[in-house]
């Protein structure tokens, strides 16, 4: 089978990916693989990415071929993990200082600002994966009509709470950092708190609904 493969991303970290559509049904298969693999001896953490899963190991894997076989076996079994996660409603102030690219996105897509906000706040987004920075949620469910290119000149620091999108992805920054995405608005949510347990507010399978409280055109 060539549709799935295991590779090294560090001397003690391996990545399992498979060629498949990018949707919830397939993501559920990676959630299931991560669950299974996290119980294997020598596996410190098994963490889902976007239709892939990464295993952090205690040591350099002497049994790489065996691990690959087991992961492929799980993939081919089609096992899925359906999660009935919690729904988090997040107040969003669209546009203005906290959403400097909203107008530009509307112009690029040939829509009104209100229509962009309507399309963006319509779905319940599913947390596909948590990563990049602490507490950050990769969301599935962006309307393809909102697909935009990444910015040519990235912002050196996007503030915490910024709502942005690029490609078919959207999300809220959990802490300040650089970003090449289009910033639409801002929210006030503590997605990560080291003194909370669990520290990350959301887990894969949880959902987010954006509630527009203000639109500044």
């Amino acid at each position: 089978m060539t549709d799935s493969r295991l590779s090294m991303i560090g001397s003690r970290a391996i990545l399992f990916q498979a060629a498949c559509p990018f949707d919830l049904t397939h993501q559920e298969r990676f959630w299931a693989i991560a669950d299974e693999a996290s119980a294997w001896p020598g596996v410190r953490e098994a963490v889902p990415g976007m239709t892939n899963v990464t295993l952090l190991l205690d040591a350099v894997p002497e049994n790489f071929a065996q691990l690959e076989k087991r992961l492929k076996g799980l993939w081919q079994s089609g096992i899925r993990k359906q999660i009935d996660g919690r729904l988090l409603e997040v107040d969003i102030s669209y546009g203005g200082e906290g959403g400097p690219h909203l107008k530009e996105v509307a112009q690029t897509l040939g829509q009104s600002v209100d229509e962009i906000v309507r399309l963006h706040s319509a779905p319940d987004y599913v947390v596909f994966a948590v990563g990049s920075h602490a507490g950050y949620c990769y969301l599935g469910g962006l309307d393809p009509a909102l697909e935009t290119a990444r910015r040519k000149v990235p912002l050196t620091s996007l503030p915490r709470g910024s709502l942005s999108m690029a490609g078919l992805q959207t999300g809220i920054s959990a802490s300040a950092g650089p970003s090449g995405w289009n910033t639409l608005g801002c929210a006030d949510v503590e997605f990560f708190d080291p003194f909370r347990d669990p520290a990350s507010l959301l887990q894969p399978g949880d959902r987010i609904r954006f509630i527009p409280t203000r639109v500044i055109a």
Partner: protein
């Protein structure tokens, strides 16, 4: 207690990193040069995971407010305790009022300062490392500044010779000093780079640019072209991974790496060689030497052997010193 009189920006308290929270998107942080950090701790008979101060660049000046044992390891920086010149790797006792000065760095990029028992900062999520992006851990979740004090966990220390200890370090480069060789495993998207790019990656040097910090180093060299129409989806990344963004110039993710990213990954520097990158400076060249899993395993046991033999010889030396006194 050691008071910081002056320190360059970006000096932080670090240990071997914050593990077990990767699923929450939290990078591991921790020291950039795990070897020097471990050696500094071993010299004081500390646990290898005890927190040290990581000091990138110099000059830095410290004043000992009390009599205090300490160790330094890492970059060669013309260290001085009052008028006495210290070797790059050294452990000893400073008297109250003495000034430790780290001057111009001649080789390497980071100095580690260890104190007995480790630097006393609160454990947050099982680690004392500074998480710079999230702003917690280490010393108040931030970089150190003049006026801050470094408190040791232990107020007693192991037997140290009056003149101090000094050990050697494996050389940073091989053969040519301006080039740093690191061993690399081919990574997830390696085979999707053009044959020419693969060859360039394994056979030509890549220069460390000024855009280099704890998050990662941007490199410059032969362009690396990604030849695939496969859509890349964000996947896990760890310190040591070499990614290639659209401009064809590689980036190595380091201690403060994100946990996930979307750029194609051409290689992964093995963990035992990451310290060499932590000690590489802008302008220096990195050379990527291809290894397989078996060689990566050997490299790990080599390093363990090195640290084990260093530990044994330090224990023997301390026993000798005790028997003389």
């Amino acid at each position: 207690m050691i008071e910081i009189l002056s320190i360059p920006p970006l000096a932080t308290v670090q240990d071997l990193g914050r593990h077990g929270h990767w699923f929450e998107g939290l990078g591991q942080a921790g020291v950039m040069d795990g070897l020097s950090h471990r050696i500094a701790n071993l010299l004081l008979d500390n646990e290898e995971s005890a927190a040290t101060v990581e000091i990138p660049l110099t000059p830095a000046r410290f004043c000992f407010r009390t009599e205090q044992a300490f160790a330094i390891a890492g970059a060669v920086c013309g260290a001085r305790l009052d008028d006495r010149q210290l070797p790059a790797i050294w452990a000893g006792v400073a008297a109250e009022g003495q000034i430790l000065e780290l001057r111009g760095i001649a080789r390497g990029a980071r100095v580690y300062l260890a104190v007995p028992g480790g630097v006393d900062v609160p454990l947050v999520m099982e680690s004392r490392s500074t998480q710079l992006r999230e702003g917690f851990g280490g010393h108040e979740g931030r970089v150190l500044a003049a006026g801050d004090c470094i408190e040791p966990i232990d107020d007693t220390w192991c037997t140290l010779p009056a003149s101090g200890f000094n050990v050697g370090l494996p050389p940073l480069g091989r053969a040519i000093d301006s080039e740093v060789e690191v061993r690399v495993l081919p990574s997830a998207e390696h085979d999707n780079f053009s044959i020419r790019s693969q060859k360039a990656f394994w056979s030509t040097p890549y220069q460390v640019t000024r855009l280099c910090n704890r998050q990662g180093y941007r490199l410059e060299g032969e362009e690396l072209l990604w030849e695939s129409d496969v859509e890349l989806r964000s996947h896990g990344i760890v310190p040591g991974i070499v990614q290639v963004p659209g401009n064809g110039q590689p980036i190595i993710q380091l201690a403060d790496s994100a946990t996930m990213g979307g750029y194609p990954a051409i290689g992964a520097v093995i963990e035992p060689d990451l310290w060499r990158i932590g000690q590489a400076r802008p302008g220096q060249y990195l050379r990527f030497v291809q290894v397989d899993i078996h060689q990566a395993l050997e490299a790990e046991s080599e390093r363990q052997d090195y640290l084990a033999s260093l530990t044994t010889s330090l224990v023997q030396t301390r026993e000798l010193l005790r028997s003389w006194s």
